[in-house]
């Protein structure tokens, strides 16, 4: 889009605005870090300083030493990980079906999936509780996995469909003639070519499942099966004045996703941009 040469005034404004956005984006996280490193005795006296005069790691130590933290973490990893796998598999199959086939009822099914994206999920929180309770799936990681997988499948399917659409159909046809049946063509030719797409979808679903709060809150009343959001919320309400520890817990919660994000960010943006370009 750079048609004309831009003046240095333009670039100054450009970087200024970007800097403002970057500051807005980073400041809350920075503050979180700052308070987590501030010793309790300086917390109130040095309230608004941008960086404490002494830093301490005592908050992190006490948070990690609490027996429940690793549990919440572990639960979230299990739930998010398996949800990501399950949802992506189902979505890959469905996305492939949408991409390659014309069949009766396709529009109906696609429409159904779109509808599920439109209604408030809180609406079904009560029925799901009543459905899962007799099955023993409340207070269980399995129940959450099933629910989360279903929630994420529609969006993941559309995502996978757009990745499959980008691959020319004659590759499968060449494979069919080379002696493969359709599933072999799908598995050996198409899937390897959509690995970036699969990774992006896995990442999406993982992140979505990791941050889900309301259903985890509703379906779990014991900390045994609590995921991270629920655990953190409970932890936080117990320590209504120990901000140092609370913020340390927050930073620990952030670390894995931020690190993960730093690595996949490029691919995610590229994937979404490419999909959009293809239409």
């Amino acid at each position: 889009m750079s048609v004309a040469r831009h003046t240095s005034k333009y670039w100054a404004l450009h970087y200024l605005l970007l800097g403002a956005f970057a500051m807005f984006a980073l400041f809350p996280l920075f503050w979180l870090l700052k308070v987590s490193l501030t010793p309790n005795n300086l917390l109130y006296s040095e309230g608004v300083r941008l960086w404490p005069s002494h830093i301490t790691f005592e908050h992190y130590a006490s948070v990690v030493a609490r027996s429940e933290f690793p549990l919440f973490f572990r639960n979230s990893v299990i739930v998010s990980g398996i949800t990501a796998l399950l949802a992506t598999l189902a979505a890959a199959a469905a996305g492939y079906g949408f991409s390659r086939f014309k069949f009766r009822g396709k529009h109906f099914i696609v429409g159904l999936m779109l509808i599920t994206q439109m209604f408030p999920l809180v609406m079904i929180i009560a029925p799901i509780f009543r459905l899962l309770s007799p099955l023993g799936l409340t207070n269980s990681l399995t129940g959450l996995i099933i629910v989360y997988s279903a929630f994420n499948v529609p969006f993941a399917s559309f995502l996978m469909q757009s990745f499959f659409d980008a691959i020319p159909k004659d590759l499968e046809e060449a494979a069919l003639l080379d002696g493969a049946n359709r599933f072999a063509a799908f598995w050996r030719i198409i899937v390897p070519l959509t690995l970036p797409g699969l990774a992006a979808t896995l990442g999406f679903v993982f992140t979505a499942a990791w941050s889900e709060l309301l259903f985890a809150l509703m379906l779990n009343s014991s900390s045994k099966a609590s995921t991270f959001p629920v655990g953190l919320l409970a932890f936080v309400s117990k320590f209504s004045v120990d901000f140092g520890q609370m913020m340390a817990a927050g930073v620990l919660a952030l670390l894995p996703v931020c690190v993960f994000f730093v690595f996949i960010q490029r691919h995610l943006v590229q994937g979404l941009t490419a999909g959009a370009v293809k239409g």
């Binding site: 889009m1 750079s2 048609v3 004309a4 605005l17 970007l18 956005f21 970057a22 809350p28 996280l29 503050w31 979180l32 308070v35 309230g47 608004v48 598999l89 199959a93 469905a94 492939y96 079906g97 086939f101 396709k106 099914i109 999936m113 599920t116 994206q117 439109m118 209604f119 408030p120 809180v122 609406m123 079904i124 009560a126 029925p127 799901i128 509780f129 009543r130 459905l131 099933i146 629910v147 997988s149 279903a150 529609p154 990791w210 941050s211 709060l213 309301l214 991270f228 953190l232 901000f243 609370m246 927050g250 919660a253 996703v257 931020c258 960010q265 943006v269 941009t273 959009a276 370009v277």
Partner: protein
């Protein structure tokens, strides 16, 4: 029909089956159930409840002041969040649309809020607004906007803005990425032709960029509006709907009724109303689109 033809015809259905099963079992069946609860007396703690009570819940709704407040708040919450996210997201997308040294780094930094789980964003901003440990109340006092460092979230008049700001912080990257993708799909030679024809930067923006973006903008805004109207997490975390139900939106009101009061019937009735409103919104937009398309 031979066996092979039958198998071929069944293939697409087999591929979509797993996804379909999950969705029907976990989302569609409960949806139907949920709608029926709206007409029954369903309280979790009362094992004898479950009678059909017709429109009683809806009558209760009509006279529930908290419900109407929640409705008003839903409009404010959705309108403010979407417009701010969109405008700021557009500016960001425009800034990132051209290559410049350091773009990759800036892109990473400004998209980082997207990686933050929403509950953490809520907690984070709640702490920022807390005068005990956060800087914002003190800064607001320095700027003269507040007389003394109070927690914004305890003031019924302005409390909703806390979650709104957290929502905007968290939601800008999504809009920015979508708009960036749309911007990058505009062919460069259209701009070049316009430049040769003598159009300046503002003119090019108005006559090329905006019309090209319009379809993407429309769809994105529609989808995000619906999604944000249903997004209760931030409010539940930051204010629990308080003080005194002043920050409730319909979605969070449904949640607190179900979770705290365990009155599933009433919660479902509110949910039914919300669903109706969303449907009306979608239909209105489709009608608007049809009118615009015909006009062209």
């Amino acid at each position: 029909m031979t066996a092979r033809r039958a198998l071929l015809a069944a293939e697409p259905y087999l591929y979509t089956l797993p996804a379909l099963l999950l969705i029907c079992a976990v989302m569609l069946v409960p949806l139907g159930l949920g709608l029926s609860y709206a007409f029954h007396d369903v309280k979790l703690l009362d094992p004898l409840s479950g009678d059909f009570i017709g429109l009683d819940h809806f009558r209760e709704l009509w006279s529930d002041a908290a419900f109407w407040q929640a409705l008003r708040n839903t409009l404010l919450w959705t309108g403010a969040s979407v417009s701010l996210q969109f405008c700021l997201g557009l500016v960001l997308a425009l800034l990132l649309n051209r290559a410049f040294p350091g773009r990759a780094l800036f892109q990473l930094l400004v998209f980082l809020p997207w990686a933050v789980p929403s509950f953490l964003s809520g907690l984070n901003w709640a702490w920022l607004f807390n005068p005990v440990v956060g800087p914002l109340p003190h800064w607001l006092v320095s700027l003269g906007l507040m007389s003394q460092p109070d927690n914004l979230l305890s003031d019924p008049r302005y409390a909703l803005w806390g979650p709104i700001i957290a929502n905007v912080w968290w939601g800008i990257p999504f809009f920015a990425i979508t708009l960036l993708a749309a911007l990058q799909s505009i062919p460069a030679d259209i701009y070049e032709a316009a430049a040769i024809d003598g159009a300046g930067a503002w003119r090019r923006f108005r006559s090329i960029t905006l019309p090209f973006l319009a379809p993407t903008m429309a769809i994105t805004i529609l989808l995000r509006t619906v999604w944000i109207a249903n997004f209760a997490d931030l409010i539940v975390i930051m204010t629990k709907g308080g003080p005194a139900d002043s920050t409730q939106i319909l979605a969070s009101y449904i949640f607190t009724q179900a979770f705290q009061r365990l009155d599933f019937g009433y919660a479902s009735a509110i949910a039914a109303v919300l669903l109706l409103l969303l449907l009306a919104y979608a239909l209105a937009l489709m009608a608007l689109r049809a009118v615009l398309v015909r006009r062209r």
